[in-house]
Amino acid sequence: MADDKKALNTEAAPKKRLSRRDFLVTGGTVVAVDALIAASPAAAAAAPAAAPAGSSAAATYPASKGYLVYDSKKCAGCTTCMLACSLVHYGVQNLSRSRIQIMQDSFGKFPGDVIMAPCRQCKVPVCVQSCPVGAAYVDTENGNVRRIDSAKCIGCRTCLRMCPQQPHRTVWVTIDGKGKSSKCDLCLDTPYWDEKGGPGGKQACVESCPMKAIKFVAEMPDQKETEGYDVNLRNDHWYNLGLVDNSTVEPKRNPVWKVGGGE
């Protein structure tokens, strides 16, 4: 499946073998996305009427009224958010079912030792655009959240290949013994949590994160690369613990090295 994707990428930009992330970096997002749709008849069929497949105009989707931003320098890698996500949606705890993925390299160097990967609720949701059966959709009744109806999903994995993020934010799960795609719904549908989710509601990952490293925002973050999403959520209280992201930063208060009375 990864090979299909590479072939498409190459076709979209023959001079440079693009990674999924490059679609966002180059600013050629729309062109690349259109090229992908043109190359995929099934996906083209699912494109919204407002943006006919192959047209040079941007595919327009009503913007989501909610987004998750996060601070990958604040995350401690506890995976609580992942287990909360899995719990409220499926009633079990399983990292593989989580719609936010936290990866870490214990032997790595800060800050590259943690990668946070929640869904971006993209301006142009390629998952929605590419789904051949409309299982991935924009929920216009609920804040335009980009969702996947797993019941409708036929298991073709197109949205896994098409999500431009690395790792893809569409999540492959087993439901009733069948492989299906799923994705972050900003906690709109949480059978195991009696909280209202979605825009204006609560999100299990946000609520459970002990480091407050994930935040719900209503405004669309900058869509280029990750800067718009991976933001600084730390204040002086954080730096005062002695946790700096830059060796020139001097915490306002001596964090730990002046010991009064102790050893």
């Binding site: 995976t79 079990v92 399983n94 990292l95 195991y192 480091m211 964090p255 090295w257 002046k258 009064g260």
Partner: protein, 681 residues
Amino acid sequence: MKGGYTGKILRVHLTTRTIGTIDTAKYEEFGGGHGIGSAVFFDLVGDQLTFEAFDPRNLIIMMASPFSGTFMPGSGRCEVQGMGPMLYPVEWFAHSNFGGRFTAQLKFAGWDGIVVEGAADEPVWINIVNDKVTIESAKGIWGMDTWDTQEEISRRVMPGLKYGEWAELARDQATTQSPAVVCCGPAGENRSRLGALLHGPGSQAALCGFGGVFGSKKLKAISAIGTGDVPIADPKAFMAARLWFRQFQWDVDNPREAERFGAGGPYALISGRPSGGNVLNRDLPLTPARATACASCPRGCRMRLATGDSNESVCAGTMVITVNGSVKFTRQGNDLMQKYGLGHWQLMPLLSYIDALHKKGILGKGKQIDTDLPLDRPGTFAYADAVMRAIAYREGVGDDLAEACARFAKKIGRYDQDVNDGTLSLAYWGTANHYDPAIEAEWGFGSLLGERDLMLHQMSNYPIHWMAWSGDPYLTAEEVSRLYTDAMVPYQGDPFMVDHSDGPTGIYSDSKVKQVAWIKHYEKFWVGAGGFCGWRWPMCITNNTADRRGATPEAEPKFWNAVTGDNRTFADYMELGHKIYTLDRSIWALQGRHRDMEVFPDYVYDKPSVGHDMTMYIDGQWQYAKGTGRTLDRAKVEDFKTRFYKFEGYNPDNGYPKRDTLEKMKLAKVADLLQKRGKLG
């Protein structure tokens, strides 16, 4: 079984190279973790006791708990059990544990635990990928340090794994995570009694020498990765409990009394603030770093640094080696200890002892114990490397040092003299003195009536000890005694349980008997069977709430019942802890434990204490007082023990569990074996 368990325990026999399973349901009555581990140990080898720790009959048992793989706060630890070659004079059936994400991955792979039997004829490692379990050749890995081992095994398990991408273990089994590997280093391979198990760069099972047991089995490592579910009996209640628990956490954006508790000193360790466990990144300019947590821990006491050194090491893992003038080389020196796989809590007293012997002119070039080690250059990286290398590879005098403190001292004929005068301060079973048994008596008694250093920092000693030492305690001695003991169900309401005076209500009192029993029961059930972190639990008080009440005893059953579907009280589970403790004591009795052995070395009784501020009830007043100059009274300690044995249902003449005690706990078969061996109380 409704929730928490996957239903099966993995059983690997290395001699016959067979792989089997044990139904978890058979052992459910023991809770999980340590409880199941003890029961499995008794069933598989109890009637063969006693034999040596390096005998292939010894077991390595790593039991997960119902909480492993869930977001139960601070439950990410893995309990390791088996006979511990570090311990002295008997290699007791013992436990050690390490943090990280090993048990979480084991559970996702579908296993409640793993039992390793026998010994391989050549080096192997165990590969667990969901329900596929294989015994693999460790060719090319045997001889590697613990860090390289883990990275190499990850590559072998998932050759296509790219950090930051999805990988499929098999069709429909996708994960972004890397395998969780636990391994021994060169020290373990060479059967060092200091051999630790390492998981990640800094998570050690430091005590008891289980690295050496791995080595004796020619077992280099166990790797686990899984993509399955951990079932939860009542998901809604569990989610509600987790969000309820937030009130007890350090609020990272707006901490309560930040000036006081966010500052340095002792509160860095006890306030629950992130990252305070690594003491090697405190000097300006600070090395950029993140706070790092074990699976599901809201505290995140560790760090990962921009330099990549001392990653995930905490406390003693950052304190054993000092390289003068360089915090960087100090971090790397401690990392070297992790890579060799040397247990920090035994290496620390051993290095002090080496230094003391060198200063006395006994150990060194051309001395009574002749060695080329550069002992005149302590505080250098070269010294640290040379000494640790000698121990890990058993080179020269390192061969004797690898026998760990007690046996090394015995070998050179100095054990009695050096231990009894405190030159080598091994307070209990060959493990190092930690908190002063004459003042913080519950720590001393809890260790002595166990099998190794207690190492449970959140027991009353720790929050009180460090709070008092801060010079700025947030509760008065009276307040903390009342609040603390309010939480100690089922003995709540007796503040004298934390009276550290040597008066009538103090360290020899019936109240102290109850406190020590409470500690052993909590240790066995909640910490041992629940996989709890001893830096997080119990939480009888906390600086993070307005009324200073902690989450204990409300949190534990709230979480346990939601996960498992049980419906029992805190006190019920504490009685289960009593049962597990009684089973452990029965195994020790089979190994030869008698009350006459449960005595401290002479120095603990004879050497006047330097004292430490603790809660004491003196002349009708609660106060923080030091107890400086106090010595433990032998007769009073013996009298304390007599009352403790009676309280627990053991025969005070010998400390053996009694038949009616065992039968009430549905441990009749244990009573039968004890009787057969003449060890029934």
